[in-house]
Amino acid sequence: MSVEVRLPTMLRAHAGGAATVQADGETVGQVFEDLAARYPGLASQVITDDGTLHKFVNVYVGDDDIRYLDKLDTKVADGASISILPAVAGG
């Protein structure tokens, strides 16, 4: 499946400044693996060393947060849009 991945501003430098990139995969995890191959340094900002989603990153497939779906095993349809956004928090 080929999907569109929308990047937050602070990750765009890892993708040559692009706000949106294309990647392939059957699941969100596979899409991120493809992104890592295309853009070294980008995936490590999103996925931890043990292969899970960083706590301070939110990933959506369409309007659905993958934490409430199948996390990195969430399947993606051809042409789907994945959005990566930082968690915004403080006190």
Binding site: V88, A89, G90
Partner: protein, 135 residues
């Protein structure tokens, strides 16, 4: 420097008062290169706390899409300090997500709101002037 459209300044402060007694938060959209916020996105504080805030992730997504559809971008976040000064807390610094963003704090500790803005880069806090434009 952070420039605020007058409506943005008013909406931001109003949202902070509306959130009392809890912290309120929201996002600022506009021209990032010019440092001008032209839109205030009121968001829910899903932490539901008087000491912490977390911008509702889905509302962040929608704000991000809306800004993009307008040819603009999210350039910062604002939140209220209900009883303390308008200065970033250690939590604010530790969790600042984007070094390019403007971090606005609205203190409601006194009779009148105090609005201050900061850049937070690698744990370093730098205050910047806030200018409310005439239009």
């Amino acid at each position: 420097m952070l420039r605020l459209a007058p409506s943005v300044h008013l909406e931001m402060v109003a949202h902070c008062y509306d959130g009392l007694p809890l912290e309120a938060c929201g996002l600022l959209g506009g021209d990032a290169a010019a440092g001008k916020a032209m839109r205030c996105y009121r968001t829910r504080n899903v932490a539901d706390s008087a000491k912490l805030y977390t911008v509702d992730p889905l509302e962040h997504l929608r704000a991000d899409r809306d800004a993009e559809s307008r040819g603009s971008s999210i350039l910062g976040v604002f939140h209220s300090h209900t009883h303390t000064v308008a200065y970033p807390s250690p939590t604010d610094v530790a969790q600042a997500p984007d070094p390019a963003w403007h971090y606005v704090i609205v203190s409601l500790a006194d009779d009148a709101p105090v609005v201050r803005s900061y850049r937070i880069v690698d744990g370093n806090i730098g205050e910047e002037p806030v200018v409310v434009e005439s239009q």
